[in-house]
């Protein structure tokens, strides 16, 4: 709300309040700071990685208000009032999620640079429904780029997840 945002004329900074991985906080941020740089440099959540910084590679994908988005294509000030999820919010008390476990079991990562972006894209996708076919798996991976491991391991990881869904009933 423009009337509630406190504009500092010298630093051109604004106050924003948002929820990150379940914790609400207020931050005084420069207007032109991207959400990705905000998360990394101001909040210290460096699990969100930056690749191309113009929306092509998907490394910086996070979840904002339940939707997977590119954090390099948003300004931090646009996230005022939003709820953000990053890779740091996935594992609880050191226990990996079933999706993360599947990535590990199926060699779905090598250098790991792109992994957090993939995970967040997939978490958002899996909330819409299970990924049951290879075509669905590949479609769900298509918005992110991996430059070392490739996608075969990720496809296997995703398919193993839908196969095991019925057994343990656990949601990724």
């Amino acid at each position: 709300m423009s009337e509630t945002i406190d504009i500092d004329p010298i630093e051109s900074k604004l106050w924003i309040t948002l929820t990150i991985n379940g914790s609400k906080g207020s931050y005084f941020v420069e207007q032109r700071l991207t959400l990705a740089d905000f998360l990394r440099k101001e909040v210290g959540l460096v699990g969100t990685h930056l690749g191309c910084e113009h929306g092509s590679c998907g490394a910086c994908t996070i979840i904002m208000d339940d939707k997977a988005v590119r954090s390099c294509l948003l300004l931090a000030v646009q996230a005022d009032g939003a709820s953000i999820e990053t890779v740091e919010g996935l594992a609880r008390d050191g226990a990996l999620t079933p999706l993360q476990e599947a990535f590990r079991a199926h060699h779905a990562l090598q250098c790991g640079y792109c992994t957090s972006g993939f995970l967040l894209s997939l978490v958002a996708r899996l909330r819409e429904g299970p990924i049951e076919t290879e075509a669905e798996a590949r479609e769900s991976l298509s918005g992110n780029i991996c430059r070392c491991t490739g996608y075969t391991g990720m496809v296997s990881a995703l398919l193993s997840l839908s196969n095991s869904n019925g057994e343990d009933g656990e949601k990724p």
Partner: protein
Amino acid sequence: MKPSRFTYHAPTDLDEVLDLLAKYGDEAKVLAGGQSLIPMLNFRLLAPAHLIDINRVSELRNYLLDDSGLNVGALVRHRELETSPEVELAYPILHEGLTNIAHVQIRNRGTVCGSLAHADSAAELPSIMVALDASMNVRSQSSQRSVRAEEFFRFHLTSDLDSSELLVSVDIPALGTGTVGVFDEITRRKGDFALVGAAVLGTWDSGGKIQDCRIVCSGVAPTPLRLREAEQFVSGTDLSDDVLVGVQQLVMESLEPTEDIHTSAEYRKKVTGVIVRRGLARLTDQRRAIHV
């Protein structure tokens, strides 16, 4: 810091947006989905002194589908329209176009009107809007006008909007009985900008002939390009195999597409002929589906 300095404005109603545009228009950019604008700011291809974020303007947030057509407000995201079963049923051509735009992460933020205002000649929606004869509803502080899609796109990345104006919504007329349309494109990888795209629309009459055919291509010219000769060639025919072969030939011989780093003019010419033929062939499939 990626973008250069600007003053960020976050108005909450349309009048406030129009006031800001009247005041700062020449040095301002409007931020809706930001999926084209923010990359340009990150690269500093643009360095506006003012950024007017319209995302908090709730009156721009909705779309309305009724008997007269579809009205899409400036903040309606691609993904929102794409996942509407009603919109898919009413405008299969639009649904096909939307699913071809980049990736879901981009479609979650990018807006229909933003893509139109950006006027990228390789984008899907401008061509589709020309095929559907959509109208752009444009407002400034002191004026209001409606611009037909065909007149709206002026050049690559240049629309008819002046710096004090906002594209508040787009109106797509309802499709009549027997009207069918498809969209297809050729890309190097899924989600890339199209090398060539084609929006093809026509109306089957009771005698089994296609009428009022519109063939609009993206990626071949600085604006969406209507292939009028090809439209005339196929209108009034039954789109038999001979007609399809003939129109493909006509497109390949008459088109003078642009050449760029992505591909040669020669290749564009060939694939345009192919996707126009394929699109027209699918109009026949769709005729069977609607039992005209």
